[in-house]
């Protein structure tokens, strides 16, 4: 690999531009293919189509074109997790999500909750959740988890998340709390199909009780959604 290629990949990743590194497994020759670049589509449709598909599925793979084995290495924009509510569960969740290579942002207008001491090395946004989520604009590589238990804050976040392409939306709260939440959101004109996107009560059923255990159950559900529902 040429060092220029390496630098270009890192620049693309920092600028959140999806790129596919195509390497000929015999000669070692390489080229970068951008799914957004239609010029490559015109010059080498077969390669572009395969690269675009690999990027969309987030699946690096080997393909064969004209007898050449080519490895398509997908470098996608980083996965993100937006956690609404700088509560106790958010602390282990932010940590576990970071270890899982998610870029974590905590949104909470309450400055005494969302402090860098309680949340080292993650981004903190002191904004009302609807404003905060709007500015973060969740996409297909984003998970949104609301943890505040406060309808004023959670509903504000969910109403924006539901309008986004976020691949996962989860809301903490009991079955009863969740039913009440769905009723309120229904009154905001979200239909059942839209509301079904919300995982509530949040997380896989692993009989979790402590904040760290609940964080693990949430992370398990996020990973399941990420790896099975593209």
């Amino acid at each position: 690999m040429k060092s220029e290629t390496l630098k270009q990949i890192q620049t693309d990743r920092r600028e959140k531009r999806p790129v596919v590194l195509v390497t000929n497994l015999k000669s070692g020759q390489e080229q970068l293919v951008y799914p957004d670049d239609l010029k490559t589509k015109d010059t080498n449709l077969e390669l572009w189509t395969a690269a675009e598909r690999a990027q969309r599925m987030d699946k690096s793979q080997t393909i064969t074109i004209d007898g050449d084995d080519l490895f398509l290495h997908v470098f996608n924009a980083p996965l993100r997790m937006i956690i609404v509510g700088a509560v106790h569960i958010a602390q282990p969740l932010a940590l576990i999500a970071s270890l899982t290579e998610f870029d974590v942002t905590i949104v909470d207008p309450r400055r005494s909750f969302a402090t860098p001491e309680r949340f080292p090395r993650v981004k903190i946004l002191h904004q009302w959740p609807d404003k905060g989520l709007q500015s973060l604009s969740p996409d297909r590589r984003t998970a949104v988890v609301t943890l505040t238990h406060d309808p004023k804050l959670d509903d504000a976040a969910l109403s924006i998340a539901l309008k986004s392409t976020a691949f996962y939306i989860g809301a903490l709260g009991s079955k009863k709390t969740h039913d009440a939440r769905l009723k309120r959101l229904n009154q905001q004109n979200f239909n059942d199909t839209e509301l079904n996107r919300i995982h509530g009560p949040v997380g896989l059923s692993i009989h979790a009780t402590s904040p760290a255990e609940i964080a693990i159950s949430i992370m398990g559900e996020v990973v399941t959604q990420l790896r099975t529902n593209w």
Binding site: K2, L6, T62
Partner: protein, 108 residues
């Protein structure tokens, strides 16, 4: 504990390259059956034998690093196969029963 993410591995590659070290990078390009690291996983090796990242649960790292050091010298890429059908792989111990193919190339 410093966690090493794939993003950091490429940053380390740029850092080592800029400092004049010769390097090779190994990429998992295919897996069959049970294998601990997914396709696209990276292992970066410099000429002094220092490395970051992983291409398995630790069972074949030694052999891959050895190949990487040879690739650094020869400046020619290599395709490595490890798996239960490969007797050499048993020697380096891919005990999980999976198969994995790894591409090793130098960075220039």
């Amino acid at each position: 504990m410093k966690q090493v993410l794939d993003m950091d591995i490429l940053d380390t590659a740029i850092e080592w390259d800029t400092s004049g070290l010769k390097l090779a990078i190994a990429t998992v390009i295919k897996t069959w059956g049970s294998s601990p690291r997914p396709v696209g996983s990276l292992l970066l090796v410099n000429e002094t034998g220092e490395f970051v990242g992983s291409v398995s649960g630790g069972c074949i790292e030694g052999a891959v690093i050895q190949s990487a050091l040879e690739v650094i010298k020869e400046e020619k890429p290599r395709l490595l196969d490890f798996g239960i059908t490969n007797s050499q792989a048993w020697e380096v111990g891919l005990a999980c029963g999976g198969k994995v193919q790894i591409f090793v190339e130098n960075i220039s």
